[in-house]
């Protein structure tokens, strides 16, 4: 891969390698805290804090950490950032902290954070690592907002607590319950898949699809 510009690094995390929609990582928070847009925003911010902070720190100490213990070191760094953000949230935004509940500490096992540290921050200088982390965080935020927007709108008739749909609209309560989370993400993924395949039909040199880990290549592509 040739040297990428900062903008490329950033945008890659948002679209091409979107952690949720393309790489299928970080599913737990994506489904669990997107029943309202407010919760989705809070989670996106908390995750961004941890991702950017830990990627930055990992990049700074990458030459000091011996190879054998790097995973433990990264986890330690990430867990520290998560503990810090958990405390900060409880202190300055208690209602958001309560709404997100145990999912703030669970940020520590969000595969995308360890993934970025291992795949990029451990091998790249400070500023590109920050950009990469910022891009991935933004991609995560995009996915969360899409989910949150759809689920809150259909499930409560509101967005960010403001009633958008008329009072006569009977909310689809299922959308803010677990099945609704799976359903919404499934529809979004199918929509994206349709979008990609449309592109491939028209243009054979389209960007190759990144298949998430553990998923087999399909036997045939759309004819």
């Amino acid at each position: 891969m040739s040297e990428k510009s900062g903008g490329d690094i950033f945008l890659r995390g948002v679209w091409e390698e979107n952690p949720v929609l393309i790489q299928i990582l970080g599913l737990c928070p994506t489904l669990a805290v997107t029943n309202t847009v407010e919760n989705a925003v809070a989670m996106a911010l908390a995750t961004a804090f941890v991702l950017v902070g830990s990627s930055g720190l990992v990049s700074l100490v990458r030459r000091i950490i011996p190879d054998q213990v790097r995973i433990s070191a990264y986890i330690l760094i990430i867990a520290t950032f998560v503990t810090v953000v958990d405390l900060l949230m409880a202190a300055v935004a208690p209602s958001a902290s309560k709404a997100l509940g145990p999912f703030v500490p669970l940020i520590v096992v969000n595969c995308m954070i360890l993934g970025r540290a291992e795949a990029f921050a451990s091998k790249n200088p400070f500023f590109p690592s920050i950009l990469d982390a910022a891009g991935t965080s933004s991609g995560f935020a995009v996915a969360l907002l899409m989910m949150g927007g759809v689920r809150e709108l259909l499930g409560s008739g509101s967005l960010l607590g403001l009633h958008v749909l008329p009072g006569s609209w009977e909310p689809w309560v299922i959308m803010i319950l677990p099945p609704g989370g799976f359903l919404t993400l499934g529809v979004i993924l199918m929509g994206l898949s349709w979008w990609w395949r449309r592109g491939q039909k028209a243009d054979e040199t389209a960007r190759p699809r990144r298949w998430p880990h553990g998923v087999r290549e399909p036997e045939e592509r759309a004819a």
Binding site: V61, P66, V69, S72, A73, L76, T80, L88
Partner: protein, 268 residues
């Protein structure tokens, strides 16, 4: 440095396994760092991490506790009809205590909050309780006047019941205020209440409503006699310097979210 303790040991153990066995971690490096280097790096990292956490915790913890106290104060005011202030009492082994003896096991005692009006007279006790509901645990607090034997009010603090149905126990004001003035044992019914023991349950949320009622019944069965026996005690007037209007340094009632270490409560 307690921050370095568990993390350092865990890191050290993993470093030992990784470095000593030398299987996965080796990579392409011809010379492996010594075990002491591995342990040292992780140890240093742990110390830095520990310090960072301790600093942030020191800054954040007072604010967190202030939020919890405020939340508790608001809940108590709601269920006791806006008392002037409140004090924490403890029920242990069937007795009502003003405070837990230092070092006592606070898990064996349950807190209740005595509310006093402007004249220093006991308005009632705010009693917390919880139980498994339809979906998950329901946590609530209710006010109780032991003299009159009446419930003064009820507030659900935490619930994960079905939105639109069971979740109405937090928002349906007709249901919530149906508890004002009822007498134990409370009976849930599906029509407007006809006597002082009945509460009209929420349509379509029978189980969640029943959960609320049974929490109150269970708690009153457990602590009602203790509180009645204690009688109408007036506030400990000259007692604690901290027993002021709750807006200032409030009594250290343990918050609903037991985040801190298990310190014995009682007023400061």
């Amino acid at each position: 440095m307690s921050g370095g303790g568990p993390a350092g040991t865990g890191g050290g153990a993993e470093a030992g396994t990784g470095g000593g066995a030398g299987r996965e971690g080796g990579g392409g490096m011809p010379v492996q760092p010594s075990s002491s280097r591995l342990v040292g790096t992780l140890g240093l990292l742990s110390v830095v991490a520990g310090v960072a956490i301790v600093l942030v915790h020191a800054w954040a913890q007072p604010r967190i506790e202030a939020h919890q106290r405020e939340e508790l104060r608001l809940a108590i005011e709601e269920v006791l009809g806006e008392p002037q202030r409140y004090e924490t009492r403890w029920i242990r082994d069937g007795r009502l205590l003003d405070s837990l003896p230092a070092g006592a096991d606070s898990s064996a005692a349950s807190p209740v909050y005595a509310g006093f009006d402007a004249n220093g007279r006991l308005v009632g006790y705010a009693i917390p309780g919880q139980k498994a509901g339809y979906q998950d645990v329901v946590r609530l607090i209710f006010g109780y006047d032991p003299d009159a034997g009446k419930v003064l009010g009820m507030k659900v603090l935490e619930s994960k019941e079905t939105p639109g149905l069971g979740a109405k126990i937090t928002s349906d004001s007709a249901f919530i205020h149906g508890f004002d003035g009822v007498e134990a044992p409370i009976e849930g019914v599906k029509h407007p209440a006809r006597d002082a023991h009945q509460v009209d349950m929420i349509t379509g949320a029978t189980i969640s409503s029943t959960t609320v009622i049974s929490i109150i019944n269970d708690r009153l069965e457990a602590v009602g006699p203790v509180l009645s026996k204690a009688g109408t005690r007036t506030a400990t007037a000259a007692g604690s310097p901290g027993a002021d209007a709750p807006r200032t340094a409030a009594a250290a009632g343990p918050g609903p979210r037991a985040a801190g270490p298990g310190q014995g409560g009682g007023e400061r």
